[in-house]
């Protein structure tokens, strides 16, 4: 077998053509995920049974199906059912958003529920409104507890974008696979791809850890 390790350097620029799409989908997807995750996480700790139930069903469906299937469903099935066009990038953002939202929902719910109920009672007994108790006592403390979980999910979502190659999103994994079809240099290309993801995710992990430490 002829392996040209120097080809790794040659193919990296090709892979990096997809980094913009990878990052774009990661950032937009996780932003959507944050919104969904916070709303449903709060709903699941709240008293409103209907909202609580809806949020629970959403989390159950997402956690009970693979991301790849979710992406295929969003890109192929839903536009067919409702007769509209969806770009691969938009489908990717929605898939990452819905998916990360469910896991963030769990992080948010867990953090809120970990706050001693005595904190809420103390706030209520001081004449504060429900909103004041939530924002200046309960959620603010929960937020600190959530940070590691949120950072973790961000990195998971960046890695998950590689699955979107299945619906033809032109992200990094897709670029690598296309390079392989013309060069047949499987080992070099996928080594390069793995290295790029490793550097990207380790860098983010380092930055997130630093931020976390700063917040404490």
């Amino acid at each position: 077998m002829d392996i040209q390790w120097s080809f790794i350097l040659t193919v990296i620029p090709t892979i990096l053509k997809g980094i913009k799409v990878t990052l774009l989908i990661s950032v937009l997807g996780i932003a959507l995920g944050f919104v969904l995750g916070f709303l449903t996480g709060v709903a699941r700790t709240g008293k409103n049974r209907i909202l609580n139930r809806i949020a629970g069903i959403y989390v159950g469906i997402i956690r009970g199906t693979p991301l790849m299937v979710q992406a295929l469903y969003i890109y192929f099935a839903i536009p067919t059912i409702f007769q509209f066009d969806l770009s691969t990038v938009a489908a990717g953002v929605i898939a990452i958003g819905l998916n990360s939202g469910a896991y963030i929902s769990e992080v948010v719910r867990g953090a809120i529920q970990s706050i001693d109920p005595g904190q809420k009672e103390a706030g209520i007994c001081l004449g504060l409104s429900k909103w004041q108790v939530a924002t200046s006592i309960v959620y603010i403390q929960a937020l600190k507890i959530m940070l590691p979980g949120l950072g973790n999910q961000f990195i998971i979502s960046v890695k998950d974008t590689s699955l979107l190659t299945a619906i033809g999103v032109a992200e990094m994994t897709h670029q690598a696979s296309r390079a392989v079809t013309t060069t047949f240099r499987t080992v070099e290309t996928y080594t390069a791809l793995a290295v790029v993801y490793l550097v990207l995710c380790s860098g983010m992990s380092y930055l997130l850890k630093k931020m976390e430490r700063r917040m404490k």
Binding site: G118, Q119, E121, A122, C125, L126, G127, L128, Q141, K144
Partner: protein
Amino acid sequence: MGKPLIAISHLSKSFGDLEVLKDISVDISEGEVISVIGPSGSGKSTFLRSINMLETPNHGTIVYDDEDITGEGYDARKLHREIGMVFQRFNLFPHKTVLQNITLAPTKLKMGTKKEINDEARKLLAKVGLESKADEMPHNLSGGQQQRVAIARALALKPRVLLFDEPTSALDPELVGEVLKVMRELAEEGMTMIVVTHEMGFAREVSNRVIFMEDGYIVEEGDPKDLFLNPRHPRTAEFLSSVL
């Protein structure tokens, strides 16, 4: 004596099938210091928590300052501004400094300018002997100090009534005295207080009235000297002999 400040009549409360308060009736006048004693699980906390609506009773009424607080549509926030609560486990806000713990509610409730609220908070800290701890975080304080901060926090709303739920039970024995001292001073200043306690010394010396609860009932109530010396009910006598 005039009208009671708090009039509780035929109060009952169940958690599922478990009836925790049974036909509780008691009147409390302004300036009274009442100790509530009784074995574990007798409903003392639930009784106290019903008075400031942390628990909703199933039957009966509580009238506070001529208003039925158990009635439909009563705004509990109004009550919480007048009835303060001190918890067994302090429940200080761990993410705020000692001073901020005290100023949080007065600030949110717009009780004055920032300076007025801060000055008042420092005065309260001095009152509980902790003026030097204003900028500490609560977890750097001893249990006794934390509880004194919690009392100052409750006082910041200028309450008419203070409820204490076993305020010294979570403390190391050597720290109990400093908290009881603050409570004794409040009692001497005329604060209306309802104190669930295992401190029989406090019940006997500081309070004007002792309520003995067991199994969801008020078994006996009366002047502390009478109740401790000549309990009328055999269950009271039994309980007292087990704790004294």
